[in-house]
Amino acid sequence: MIRRIAVALAGPIVSVLLALLVTTLFLTFGGYSAASAYEVMWNYGIEPASLVSTVNNAVPLYLAGVAAAFALRMGLFNIGVDGQYRVAALAGAVVAANLPLPLWLRLPITLLVCCLVGALWALVPALLKVYRGVSEVITSILMNAIATTVVAILLAHVFRSGSGQNTGTAIIGPDGAMPALIDLGIGNRTTISGFLVVAVVVGILFYLIQYRTVFGFTLQVAARSPEAAESAGIKVNRRIIWAMLGSGAIAGLIGLPHVLGTAFRFDGTLPTDLMFTGLAAALLGRSHPIGMAFGALILAFVERSSQVLGLVQLPTEVGSVFMAVILLSSAVGYWLTERADQRIALWNAIRRRRSAGPTPPSPSTPGLEAAR
């Protein structure tokens, strides 16, 4: 048990160390002082306001990670998360601003509408895969571009409110916005957004659905062996559709923290590249609901703390280089720790065998257990 925990922790730690190492190499190569860069980043990152912002910014990354993981567990690569949340965020902004209902009704409806729209956008690749045999990767890529265009058209001709350079929808009043969860009250903007609750709920739902329900089980079977699934009465095509719908529904929420918590409207400031950062969070956390949360927090922390680099005449790209490298090193880190773990297991087995004395190989082969 202790070993399992150690192994689980060793992966991320080794990853971060590796990432630090590689980033240091780059910085040194570029003629910068890595140590001072890290110091500045760390000092800024652990300020209360930064930590709060890290938590808040981790939420969309986490949602993106869960959305990607939901499809990945069915063996589908939903590269269309970007498009799904873009369309959904627009719908959410319109609903939240215009629905004449009190907050406690308006908010859940907004969330629901976003899920629905995201799921609908994901339905296109799912249907094409099932009925036309077209890989979801290609349709998702196309749907992303189409989402941008559709949103642009809707925004320009239908939902735009106001004039000037701002192309946003109508402002969402307090009756539509996400209320704060807690206000730590330790300076400027130290409120944790209510979306933290949404993220936790989504994480729990993800865990229950994927790991605990019969439905999740059938998804796993369909992903690993479609033939066995069909023979067992599991309709693979339906699982594909459900998995994409689920992934799209979660993806639909990604843009909302920004819409309901930062900009209070849908406009050009909606972050556009959350898909890959979210995927990175998912990979860092090995698609596990808790692991992904840590992944998202680490990435959000790096993102936030690298904002300060410009202050000390360091290129802010260091942050993105670090995030990119951490993504890779997370895979390498897990690889290293797994290898080490196997070695240790083998040594242990051999040592146990030696200490047990030179027994002849038992004919009734419990050998495999021994090797494990």
């Binding site: 796993q220 082969t365 050998g367």
Partner: protein, 515 residues
Amino acid sequence: MLVRLTGIVKRFGTFVANDHIDLAVRAGTVHAIVGENGAGKSTLMKILAGEEHPDEGTIEIAGAPHSFRSPRDAQQAGIGMVHQHFLLADALRVWENVVLADEPGTALRLDSAAARRRVGEIAAANGFPVDVDAVVRDLGVGGRQRVEILKVLYRDARVIILDEPTAVLVPSEAQSLFAAMRRFTEAGAAVIFISHKLDEVLDFADDITVIRAGAVVGRTTPAESSAPALAALMVKVAMPSVAPREVAPGTAVVLSAAGVTVGDAGEVPALDDVSLEVHSGEIVGVAGVEGNGQSELLMALLGRAKHSGTISMGDADITDLSTEARRERGMAYIPEDRHRDGVVLSMPLRENAALGYHARPPVKRGPWFSRAGAAGVARTIISRFDVRGGDPSTLASALSGGNQQKFIVGRELGSHPKVLIAAHPTRGVDIGAQSAVWNELTAARDEGLGTLLISADLDELLALSDRLLVFYRGRVVGELDPKTVDAQVLGEYMTGVRGQAPDAGSRPDPEGAAA
């Protein structure tokens, strides 16, 4: 001596798969190796073929010591191996699979004409009718095996290793394989041949080596031995046999098909207007050369293939029901390819025990998947059906093929089904496991289970079936009595010599019934 292995030891981790094995094979002979599942036969052969490195021991070919660093080295020494699980690229053509990694032509050009010619010549010379341009995916098992053998012959092997070649072949195909083996030995080659079918071994081998738990436990020849004696050496159990039945079959029809046709419009249907009935407590055998509609029948009965005609369980028409609904009504299924259809190799036995039974208790509790429930089922299967090598948390892939098969049989029978559709239930399973599976099938039969048994193993069909249907070109061409039919007649039905009335259709052929 063409091949001499001395003191071969192979360890996997701490487990010893081969324990000081000595083996000598003479040129011009067929040398059989027998042993139970997991005895270490395949491992030994992989060592000889250069795919595994022995931890200890020496390999001599024609008197010269060899140390193989890769399969390529072994091939150059004249050793070729046909694997138990075929190693073929499905999407490539026959000739491409054969010449792979040893192609004629220059660096910048593969001489495909020469390659195809050469492969065609070898095929013709050895009596293998294969279309060299066919895509392997479109070939049946027999065809694939011929491609595997062609790969070996193409590389001028003097030692040809066949790992359980007949497990997947119907008798006629097996016969032609044995004929080919003879031709190889007459040409001076040696054939090493692994099989769980002892009668074959006794009929065709010149020498026999018995392996148990990684060590040689006996060397003999067919003349000096017998099937029971070999079996005793191998596993210390009796030959599988079936006690004559004591309970009479029931009269209620539990499964029936009427006019079932499977096929694309405009093409010759793969399954053509088949009607059949299975009664409670009855085992109906389906004989036929592979590819004559058996797979399609399975898929149609299971609800996985589009078909016309009607299928019923008991009185209920289930034609339009999904696989899931059919299974819920008590249809159990032992698939033809256990790795593809039967288990999910990367999942533990616990999850595999739930496969197909996930929609009912004890696995399903409300919307939840009960791991405890599934583990309980797995544990029951493991203990009741003597599945060795794992507990509920073991991955299915860690089980040997025989034990995987026992697990599947246990899972399907453990659910107390009304109808069992069983395809090749003992394929590649050692005789110990085989007799266990047979016993389970007959015990379930005696409790009233109606079974449709599809098998390529005629002994199995004859031993277990109450009635025998013969499939040829997607049609039922004969209904025979397994107690009276002789292999000759059965073979003639299976190859279409007999029973091909223009529309024999579903009606049992009178002549066949008389035979």
